[in-house]
Amino acid sequence: MRARPGFLLALPAWLWLVVFFVVPVLQVVWFSFGRKPGIFGTHDNSVLTLDRYAEALDPTFGTVFLNTLWIGVAGTALCALIGIPTAYWMAVKAKPQWRGLLIALVMIPYWTNFLVRTIGWQVVLAPEGWLSTALGALGILDGPLEVLNTRGAVLFGVVYNYLPLMILPAFVAFDRVDPTLREASRDLGAGRWRTLFRVTLPLAAPGLFAAVILVFIPLMGDYITPSVLGGAAGSMVAQLVAVQFQAGQNWALGSAIAVILILAIVATAALGYALFRLVALPFAAARRVKLGAP
């Protein structure tokens, strides 16, 4: 195991990923510059064109892109708003001996089938479902609950589905902050809020940002949640891609939509990172003062 074998050890995984991931994805990029040749063909690259990208961004599909971006940003924000305080409580406030159980309780839903969990919400939110009956019995609601097959239902579904993916990394981020630094901050006269904003949050920030990205990326490409809960009103880009490849048999257009989706995810994540650096900048000065902080 001298210099070369390092590369050799990684080779099986790398070759596998190149053959079954890199090459097929490059093929999709190639398809996206082609066109659909008549009713029976799926793709044709004899003339290269950017027309499919123009087609993908016209208002018919453009609204679905905006819808997806809205659900992606709002869903991630809600996950952060709910997940980060929960993770903070688990890592800092809850008794240490409870932590194992709490982590298990967050992990169990995450390891349960995604599709089945989403169907569980369909059962709850249906017009004749439990929530509808309960709200009706309490007199809060007059008539059946009409949330299923709306954008709101999709937003609700994605917040639920990706919440564990926010809580677990955020927990790790808070858990890594040395408790003695918090104690030192309190001993030096800082109140609990000041300690939170000047010590705990700045130290956990990179991990929290990673958690946000970890939620945002798969959320933008979600296909199952909008299919089960969204109906026609709450459709997302992944469904457009699937339709073009299956019923539409228009691989060129489907590929262009897929490429735009990936670019949109990367661009939004990069924008988020830039904003994060901008917000984190004022805290950086406070960070430098601390002794022995990582």
Partner: protein, 286 residues
């Protein structure tokens, strides 16, 4: 820390935080509880409750389509997990212990695999498998299980590589150096020192791969051929025509199995000396 921190601390802010956390954890279990309850539904459709009955569990055992779908899922899950764990472990060790100039390129590949939406994997793989299997006449790629294993292994290889890498990066390589100084061959050092050190991560990664494979719906529904329908694809197909309660029954059985496996892993990891927090850290590394 000999102060005992009570679960409910004094400050009202902490109290609010505690309540939020408990509500959130309860919220995570709502759909699971609903599915378990509806697995005892006497009605014809999953969604409409018609009274209590064990019938869904009887029907579940009788339907050949369900048995076959669960069988395909388990078989694919095991093969995909073994494959991803082997390839990912080697790659993770290489990244942590012998990174060269290649490592940056490899990491970019892994990163791309892990951020690409599943639907893109699905639409990319389908034409490619057809090219390989039919145009280039390699009949293995027309086999349903092979196609599923390929589709499920991509993300899992990346995850296992990341988990194993982050575990080993956290441990100094002095033990391996000592072993080499004591004249152990590289192969022996690998087998006796590096692999045991990486073991908790390997185990977690393997299990995660298995679960991800069982969970996979989108890639499976694209690449599957007739006769190799997985369990999620069965549900997906039944979704439009109205789900039957036996779907909830199978899901409940699988949920209980997941609990058992998770408990087993927690036990193994605890014996290897990991605290709950470090288990979470291992898992979140992906």
């Amino acid at each position: 820390m000999n102060r005992r921190a009570p679960l409910l601390t004094r400050s009202p802010v902490d109290l609010v935080l505690t309540i939020i956390a408990i509500v959130v954890v309860a919220f995570l279990f709502v759909p699971i509880v609903v599915i378990v309850i509806h697995s005892f539904n006497a009605g014809r459709l999953l969604i409409a409750w018609q009274g209590f009955s064990f019938d869904p569990y009887v029907v579940m055992l009788q339907k050949p389509a369900i048995r076959s779908a669960v069988g395909v899922s388990l078989l694919t899950g095991v093969i995909a997990a073994v494959l991803a764990t082997l390839a990912g472990t080697l790659a993770g060790i290489a990244l942590a212990r012998r990174p060269g100039r290649w490592a940056a390129w490899f990491l970019i590949t892994l990163l791309l695999v892990s951020v690409t939406p599943e639907i893109v994997d699905a639409i990319a793989l389908l034409p490619w498998l057809v090219t390989l299997g039919i145009d280039w006449q390699m009949p293995v790629f027309n086999n349903g299980i092979v196609r599923l294993v390929i589709g499920h292994s991509l993300f899992s290889i990346a995850i296992v590589s990341f988990i194993v890498r982050s575990r080993l990066v956290g441990i100094e390589s002095q033990l391996e150096e000592a072993s080499a100084d004591l004249y152990a061959t590289p192969a022996r050092t690998f087998r006796r020192i590096t692999l045991p050190l990486a073991m908790p991560a390997v185990l977690t990664g393997g299990l995660l791969s298995f679960t991800l494979s069982l969970d996979n719906t989108i890639v499976s529904s694209f690449v599957a051929v007739s006769g190799s329908t997985t369990w999620p694809v069965y549900i997906w197909g039944a979704l439009r025509g109205g789900l039957k309660p036996e779907v909830a029954a199978v899901s409940t059985v699988m949920f209980v199995l997941t609990l058992l496996v998770l408990a087993l892993v927690a036990l193994v990891l605890r014996r290897s000396g990991d605290s709950a927090a470090s288990i979470a850290r291992t898992l979140a590394a992906g």
